[in-house]
Amino acid sequence: MATYIEDHVLAPAEQNSPRPVEEPRRADIVIGVHGASDDGDIARAGHRLGHQLDAAFPGKGAVVLLLSDHAGEPPAPFSAAPPDVPARRCEILPWNHAGSGALEAVLRARETFGADACALLTAGSEDGGFDVARRLLAPVVEEGFDLVSPCYVTHRYEGVLTTGLVYPLIRALFGKRLRQPMSSELAVSRRLGEYLLGEAWHGDPHAGEQLWVALSALSREFSVCQSNLAARPPPALEPSADLASSIAHVVNVLFHQMRLDASSWQRVKGSQAVHVSGPAQPAPREALAPQIGPMVKAFQLGYQELGRLWGSALPPQSLLALKRLASAPEEAFRMDDALWARIVYDFAVGYHLAVMDRALLLRSMTPLYLGWAAGFVQEVRDLEPEAVEERVERLARAFETAKPYLISRWRWPDRFNP
């Protein structure tokens, strides 16, 4: 397979190493393609994308980076472009980002090429990601948004952690209804890119993660938009992590950001809709309902064994409610929205005060989350698709309603100590 850079064709041997470039380059748009297990897939996606971009953004010079992170290869040897260097038509470049994440590579490449916008895409779409790139980048290039987050069409049992915890918590904290803030695809403006690599980057252990981008943008009131997209791309092949580790990682990013931005989120009341770009996508095929038995059992075992540990973070009335729930039959198993919101807030305060080792505290949340998820699955199983979104809306409102409780506990934790 050949790699096209303008009219030049690279030999296959050249494709595997970054081409040394003497002169500085400039581009208006930088797009990084990542996420496939095979470099060939990334290259194919990048080429298809590169050849179509000119039609989507005429007059804009673009660079498509075929991201790979093979250790041992030297980093791509490009120097920063001065503003007077003209942008070329679409170029496709192999881009090694060994030692850093794909998002960081794209943000730094945007800086190097002096681009106005950059996007990170996942290889795997049938059209090479052209439609996704267009939908993500258009709000940045044409409407001036700083962050465009995808809003995939998902079935009701997909992204349950986002539905039950990430979305309502972020919405209550920052007052923006960003439905899917955790994604491996996004687009970022020059302004936000400079902020992320500058002020936001230093000293933040989660810098470079997708959720961190959304949280950083929301906490500093950058303009945020979400773009309707089709199905979510297949997940990148990563070292397998168990559910507890994944939940702990995501919640750790959220709670850490809460500590950093405590003064800003405490001032926010209610929430506002986020601008949605693009037409709504057709609804996905309905998925079969999962079994809730294993999740209920996981919660019951968790209550039995970890109840005392939870007592470090949760007040007695929450523990009492959990005790009742643990003895509820499977058919009637449902965690109240207000209880779940207060549990999440109590753990956030526990994390803030470090009532016990933070990693352990977060890992001990898994059975609680599974308990909530079991109730959620039970509730939405027989609902119409529109009613599922209404159910999620009720949950998000419960988080907003319980926010004064969070603020009180955060400011005066001893007042609520059991």
Binding site: Y157, E158, G159, V160, L161, T162, M182, P235, D242, L243, A244, S246, I247, V250, A287, L288, A289, P290, Q291, P294, M295, K297, A298, L301, G302, E305, L306, R308, L309, S312, L353, A354, V355, M356, D357, L360, R363, S364, T366, P367, A373, V377, R381
Partner: protein, 242 residues
Amino acid sequence: MTGDVEEALRDGFHRLALTVADFLPGFVTMLLVIAFAVALAYIVRFALRKVLAGIDFDRRVHRWGLTSSAEWSPRNAPTAIAAHTGFWFVVAAGFLAGLQALNTRTTDALATRALDWIPHLLGAALIFLTGIAVARFLERTVLISAVNMQIAWARFLSIGAKWLTVLFASALTLQHLQVGGALLTLAFTVIFGGIVLALALAIGLGSRDAVSRGWERTFAEEEAKGRAQAASGAGLGEIRHM
């Protein structure tokens, strides 16, 4: 005869007076040293209370896993215990230093040996406290991990991990204090080896049943799935958390 007795008594009293006169300055010095040590102990206790309260020691101790509960009365709070320990440690050290002032062979030997032993005691205390902290941390880690893996005997596993670590820390502490000698090492080897062997046997023998039960459960679930599919199609889907 009477004169001899009188002279002997006079000599005896004279020697006694000389001995007392010789002993008295050392005794007074000892009392002064002890009084100074007690005063110093009060200062140490006061300073420890202030410093530990300043660094929120009670909460930190709970976070490090040295205690099972964050609730305690003022008397048994970690800060109070540490302050009392510091107080009595200074008093004891002052008493031993005071004994040396008596300048007798027995007290000298006793005080020297006791004072030499103090660094060992401090080292042993440090080893034991570290062992306890590690044991409690391991207990929580194992418990949470086992619960997340949905192992029914999570509590048993965590308690096992905790007590094995405590046992190991105790053996190290005693060895550091040079108590027990070779007998201790032998006893520890036997107990620790025995526990590990018992666990290996339990897991080895138990896993046979567990594997067969697991297979039975898998087959039963597949059958149930098939029946459910035939009935309604519910319960077959997969939940995607991320």
